[in-house]
């Protein structure tokens, strides 16, 4: 699905990631952890084509990002649901419209009555906030909306960057269950988080691999989790 092959990345200074390889096989469930600033967000951006490796190869669905123009990246983005770390929204649209945005830009007609949309808003507990504008939402509500937006178009892969950073334990379990549910239906999931409790909770429900960025490279985390 998504493959990083001997990838290096630097923002201009020293290399943040180097000789890093990762394969997200179809239906796999991965956690990416490590202290803040080690490059989790950067690695996710490499996985959805927002950044291009400074060395090595990143392949999205078999195609090297190097050979993809912006339109090709955009089209592959429709097969990848992304929960951005700072949950960017369009502030002039309602929450429901924001959640449905991936469908809108793909040219699919949607209405406020759309069954999928309502179910999804119900799952993340935002039914009553459907008509609110993003600036009126709390941090937790924004994260739930971002997750709903990432999964609404039935993507093959979900990349979630700290999806539970601002929500309480109960809600984080709920969001996790949504992702596990999707994974059982075959969706490939990668969650970047520094929340070890969340990882432990997940490991009891799903065979997840836990990766850690150490010395600019990926390592499998031990059983100590």
């Amino acid at each position: 699905m998504i493959e990083l092959d001997n990838v290096a990345y630097s923002y201009g200074g020293g290399e943040l990631l180097s000789e890093l390889s990762l394969q997200l096989a179809p239906g796999s469930f991965h956690f990416l952890t490590g202290p803040s600033g080690t490059g989790k967000t950067t690695l996710l951006k490499l996985c959805y084509g927002a950044l291009r490796p400074t060395a090595g190869h990143a392949r999205l669905f078999g195609t090297d990002v190097r050979n993809m123009d912006r339109d090709a990246v955009a089209l592959s983005r429709r097969r990848i649901g992304v929960v951005h770390q700072d949950c960017q929204f369009l502030d002039h649209l309602s929450l429901a419209e924001n959640v449905a945005l991936p469908l809108t830009v793909a040219g699919e007609a949607i209405s406020g009555q759309d069954q999928n949309l309502r179910e999804l808003l119900g799952w993340v507990g935002l039914t009553s906030r459907a008509n609110a504008r993003p600036p009126e939402l709390s941090g937790g509500e924004r994260q739930r909306a971002a997750l709903a937006r990432a999964v609404i178009s039935s993507p093959e892969v979900v990349l979630a960057d700290e999806p539970t950073g601002n929500v309480d334990w109960e809600m984080s379990q709920r969001l996790l269950r949504l992702l596990i549910e999707l994974n059982r239906m075959g969706v490939t999931v990668l969650i970047a988080t520094h929340d070890l409790q969340l990882i432990r909770a997940a490991k009891s429900q799903v065979p997840a691999r836990v990766l850690r960025i150490v010395n600019r490279r990926l390592q499998s985390a031990g059983v100590d989790l």
Binding site: A50, R70, D71, A74, L75, R77, R78, V82, H84, Q88, F89, L90, D91, H92, L93, E97, L101, P102, T104, V105, A106, G107, A109, I110, R149, S153
Partner: protein, 299 residues
């Protein structure tokens, strides 16, 4: 631009239109500038068409009425007139030549000398009216031959005063069209600036749209459609005002002068309708180019 693009543009897509936030100030400025440009364009058009009409009518009427004047001792006038007519009929570019009758000459002189002038008894020159073919004759050559064969004949081809006027009118026509082109270019520049500003101000929106899989074409369309409709709307208002202003100009006979003839005639009233359409086309092209450039830069 494909037909499909045009259809999509005309039909619109409510959801797609909404993904770009409304920008009140830029929008109003664009509409206002489009209206002003269209207003000016209508005037340039009226000027150009009026000057064109003058150039044509002066050119046509005056070019077809040169005269040959025969001033000779009374006894020789008839013979020289004959000779001049013969010569004229053989001259390439002369469609016809006709000696004015006494009555016609009298009518010509009447405004100056009154109705009782005995033309036949006065040494009034005989006039020959020469009508040119559309190609015209070689005035210098004709003059030389007349000089050689008909000593009393003088060719008056009006060229001395007519040509600069016709040339000026023709030049004015061209200037009118050039002004139209410049107005279109200014409109393009203005829309480009406005579209650039709107695109740059919405970098964050563009980033979100890309995050959820919007292609450049999709993002560009949202902006292009908006700016095309704005220029179309603004230009339509400006055109209506421009036509009204032209219609309200005091009118006069075309011969009364250029200033009172500065209005549309007949089907020419339909031409300004093209102004908003052209403005929309310019707005479309300018925004499309700006969008391609800005989206190419924001990656």
């Amino acid at each position: 631009m494909s037909l499909q693009t045009l259809v999509a543009l005309a039909r619109g897509d409510k959801a797609a239109d909404r993904v770009v936030p409304p920008t009140g100030f830029t929008a109003r400025l664009t509409v206002f500038a489009a209206a002003v440009m269209a207003f000016l364009a209508v005037f340039a058009l009226a000027l150009s068409l009026a000057a064109g009409r003058l150039a044509t009518s002066w050119g046509d009427e005056l070019a077809r009425a040169s005269t040959v004047r025969i001033s000779a001792p009374v006894g020789q006038v008839a013979a020289q007139t004959e000779a001049a007519l013969r010569l004229l009929q053989q001259t390439p570019g002369v469609a016809s030549a006709r000696a004015l009758s006494e009555a016609e000459q009298q009518a010509l002189l009447e405004p100056w000398f009154g109705p009782d002038l005995p033309v036949s008894e006065l040494p009034v020159p005989q006039l020959i009216e020469v009508t040119e073919t559309s190609k015209g004759y070689d005035a210098a050559g004709l003059r030389l031959r007349l000089q050689a064969e008909v000593p009393g004949a003088v060719l008056d081809d009006h060229a001395r005063w007519r040509k600069p006027l016709v040339a000026a009118a023709a030049r004015l026509t061209v200037l009118g069209w050039v002004s139209g082109l410049l107005i279109a270019a200014a409109m393009g520049a203005m829309v480009t600036l406005a579209a650039n500003a709107a695109l740059s101000a919405n970098a964050q929106v563009i980033a979100v749209l890309r995050l959820v899989g919007a292609t450049d074409a999709y993002i560009a369309r949202a902006f292009v459609r908006r700016f095309t409709l704005r220029t179309l709307g603004g230009a339509a208002v400006g055109t209506v005002l421009g036509i009204a202003a032209v219609a309200l100009l005091p009118s006069g006979d075309e011969t009364a002068g250029f200033l009172t003839g500065l209005s549309f005639r007949g089907w020419h009233w339909g031409i300004p309708v093209l102004v908003p359409l052209l403005a929309a086309a310019v707005g479309f092209a300018a925004t499309a180019v700006a969008a391609r450039r800005v989206l190419g830069g924001l990656s």
